[in-house]
Symmetry: C2
């Protein structure tokens, strides 16, 4: 059995807990939180994060479920001194720095840290790499959605006059159809996605002003085709409580002049955090096996042979799945 | 530069030759054939297969492009004594035996042999593994087509009264829609695929008898929904000369009770042999790099970390694609 610890108990931590029930080769040792462990709504054992070093010899892999903004950049290197770790750090532009910082510690203390697992970064990255390596003469397109974007929802909720709200990222299916048809398209993040916003107004708020403040918001909405719909708080809770997401990576390329080949990877996720957690759990298995083999240091999805994700033997994999 | 040799010059060998033009880090040393090398229609250097050992120190990786029925099972182990090899051996049930036979030789002579690359086996296998590892509670569905099936075309052409013909495998899109909708489906190879046959009759042949002989053919067509269309030789050459194929692997699973997640990998290929060759070429790069690192023995797509497929450095991959 691979003994797992969960650090952080938000949506992602709960997702890891749920997914571990589907992993017959894994055992959840405990959940570690900054909150009072007695207040966590879980049947698993819960501990305060300050007690985690007591579990140094009882846990094979820690799955870090905190936020990428401030939790993971601190916790990752600190915990890599004592544990194998897996995280879903998702600040794309900072990945090289984060890799270096955790690699140094993990190598020095002979642990494995697999960073930036999940689906993007993670499985989408994997398919960007494989698509480009196999079809070097071509273009890669990443589409996100339909799905709930946490960052854009946060931005909407900060607008004056907004009581609550959510944002869905909607891929431009016309553009996808053109790519499928082998046409050359002008892909930009803005041309490839629309944004649907559902807003509950504060009492007395000016709907037109709220709408205008949203659609003109730089970085988040400006330049996108954005639709704002006003709904009641009841509608929000009834119809927008889930965390669906998904998207696709398409590599369209030529193997010889005018010979078109299309490579596509897609996800349609009922729950974004639960699926991210499912990926974390598979890579935790890889971290354990690689550490057993004597490897140490930071790793990404690019560095891990697929066999390490499965509980099956290499011979069984060849027989059953090749 | 990675120096490549091509063994066998049919559709696949020509596909490898075409794809090498897209690989700036690779150099085609020569094509090796059982035929008189002067008769090969290529601008590359061509040699008789009997001269291949003269190239032992000039070639880093051989890509084996012969047939899986008799060429590869003989050539693979024989050539693994002197070269790193990559092949697209595709006799699924015999893969474990083939793996063992080439592994022994490659290990003894310190070469790397990557077997069964391509798309199925190959990239589809990879996605069956990853899908199952991430969503252990679920089902995997493989659909082939729309595309030309070589084996079924051969079977049609052996029927009495058939002058020429082709067969397209057509996936059952209704079943795919049901899987996308999260429904439980009864998947069998027969329920998942239909077969479209285009036949040119011999002069004086009995069309009804030919049709009946085809649709009732055991193993190939019996039990499938098969449509037979009679066409002229001109139509066959004008409309059915390409080698398109493709398909998809879908993993549909739950991460927690009733929380549906759908993972999908699809290919839409203008040319089946050229795409298979593109995969061979990327894995030839991996064979070279792994051999440089001191690895030896047989490997499959399950054993190869994705970074080895790309000409880019690990740091660049993290920066650009993660």
């Amino acid at each position: 059995m691979i003994n797992i610890g969960i650090v952080g108990y938000g949506n992602l931590g709960r997702g890891v807990e749920a997914n571990l029930k589907n992993a017959p080769d894994m055992n959840l040792v405990g959940i570690f939180s900054r909150r009072n462990p007695d207040t966590l709504d879980t049947e698993a054992k819960a501990y305060h994060i300050d007690d985690i070093l007591n579990f140094k010899d009882k846990i094979d892999v820690l799955i870090l479920c905190g936020g990428s903004r401030s939790d993971i950049p601190e916790q990752g290197p600190a915990l890599a001194e004592h544990f194998n770790t897996v995280d879903s750090y998702d600040n794309h532009s900072q990945i090289p720095n984060y890799f270096e910082s955790i690699d140094t510690v993990a190598k020095a203390h002979k642990y494995v840290s697999i960073i930036a697992t999940g689906w993007d970064p993670g499985l989408f990255s994997l398919n960007r790499l494989i698509g480009e390596a196999i079809l070097p003469k071509g273009d890669t397109y990443t589409f996100w959605g339909e799905g709930l974007s946490q960052g854009h929802g946060d931005a909407v909720r900060r607008v004056e006059g907004v009581k609550d709200g959510v944002q869905y990222t909607i891929p431009n299916t016309e553009l996808i159809d053109q790519i499928h048809a082998g046409e050359t398209v002008e892909y930009t993040s803005k041309s490839a996605h629309n944004r649907d916003v559902y807003v509950v107004l504060e009492e007395g708020a000016d709907a037109e002003k709220v709408k205008n403040d949203i659609v003109t918001m730089p970085d988040y909405f400006e330049g996108y085709q954005t639709e704002v719909t006003f709904i009641t708080e009841e509608e929000l809770h009834a119809n927008h409580a889930g965390l669906p997401h998904g998207g696709r990576v398409i590599r369209s390329g030529e193997t010889s002049p005018d010979m078109q080949q299309v490579y596509e990877y897609g996800l349609n996720l009922g729950s974004n955090p639960e699926f991210t957690a499912a990926v974390n759990v598979a890579y935790a298995r890889a971290a354990y096996k690689l550490h057993q083999e004597g490897l140490s240091g930071a790793q990404t999805v690019f560095d891990i042979a697929p066999k390490y994700l499965s509980p099956k033997s290499a011979a069984d994999l060849r027989k059953e799945l090749l």
